[in-house]
Amino acid sequence: MTENAKKRGRFFFIFSVVIFCALVLILIIWDAVKPDEIEKNNVVMGTYASFNIKGKKPDEAYSKIYSEINALENKISWRIESSEISKINTLLSCETDNYIYNYIDTCIGVSKSSSGAFDISLGALSDIWGFSDNEPVLPDAKSIKNVVNKYGWEKIVCKDRRVTVPEGVKLDLGAVGKGIACDKASSVLDGANAKSAIISIGGSILLWGKETFTVGIADPSNSSAAMGTIKLSDCFISTSGSYQKNFTDESGTLYHHILDPSTGYSASSGLLSVTVICNSGLLSDALSTACFVLGYENSLELLKEYNAQAIFITQDNELICTDELKGQVNIINDIYTENAR
């Protein structure tokens, strides 16, 4: 073997070792810096929830979120006797902690701005419709009238952390509970080493972090599928639709769980669903309910006041988006068309 051939062989060997080491190093560094990811499917607040978290120690973030949500449920569920809401409903006047007080106060603000389309004092109405127990029935008109005369958000008094309601008013934060849970999750993620997260609690969604996600908008004709998709990041999303928790009576009339406080019956504003996108879980939940009751035209001022965007699907299968979302929904099911107004 010549001297040159030896040198070439040695160089070739060293070069290969360097390449190999470099690749191993890349793998080690990648493993150290790449975010871990967890996906958990669980039941919280009596509903299905999925948690997809990327970042360092996502398991820790998930455990903390899970326990925070359970603690929240213990405070706001009217089904739990020891909850703050149950105490108010039973004692009619009660001092609450700051969080509960603020939730109620914020809800009253939405009630006021929506002229009562959203109302947390409807607990007794949900009860007689059976929606509270997932066993819906059509109540007789007299029962509905009796209940309608008793409730009303303006009868709730919030002062110095004390919440007072008259007899016959039953507070129910069910319409915003999952959104508040998303707010809690967001706060936990703010303090964790998370990179991004998608949290869906019974359809109320938190997109956390800078990553852009593809969000499907449920198809009212088949709610397990999407009628279209939209790219979103760092926001809260809530949908209210007549396709959920509904039943038809003998005459074929459809009744659903979104009740119009002014009539006591299922809201009928020409919509199949409303999806609201904003920077608060509580507000996205409250606004989607209010907008469903109000209908498209009457919702615009309310959405503007809370700096929220929305996607309306009408009973004519038209999609109407507020300004910032116009043209952004990629429609998958072509029975729907976007109305550009």
């Binding site: 040159n4 990648w30 359809g203 709610s223």
Partner: protein
């Protein structure tokens, strides 16, 4: 003096290319094209069952309270004979497409079908 002969260079390039190709899956993650039924109870995954022609028909008893059962047949999966009130979980019927989900709330049991990379990250409903 030339450090490389033409053939040496070809070998080095080949080694680099093969190494990079070998690294790709670990850098970008795998892409599972087989459908998988992921069964969770209380947030913990207790079973992952691939749904293909070779999957045997079976009914799995989940360690939950109340007791719940999941049937697997013909590349599909569903809740059956669960001992929960109302049997809402059985009303979901057969799950067979990626993203299909069924939940037994009292048992805190969730079945979800995973498949190819989904087009949708989350469904707003």
């Amino acid at each position: 003096m030339k450090l490389f002969k033409r053939n040496d260079l070809l070998v080095i390039i080949a080694v680099c290319v093969v190494s990079i190709i070998a690294l790709v899956p670990s850098l970008v993650g795998g892409n599972n094209k087989t459908l998988t039924a992921v069964i969770s109870v209380g947030g913990e995954v207790i079973e992952r069952i691939e749904l293909d022609e070779n999957t045997r028909e079976q009914t799995i008893s989940l360690d939950s309270s109340p007791a719940s059962y999941v049937e697997i047949k013909n590349k599909k999966v569903r809740f059956v004979n669960s001992e929960c009130k109302g049997h809402q979980c059985e009303h979901y019927g057969w799950l067979e497409k990626p993203g299909n989900t069924a939940v037994c709330l009292p048992a805190k049991a969730v079945v979800i079908i995973k498949g190819e990379e989904p087009d949708i990250d989350v469904l707003a409903y």
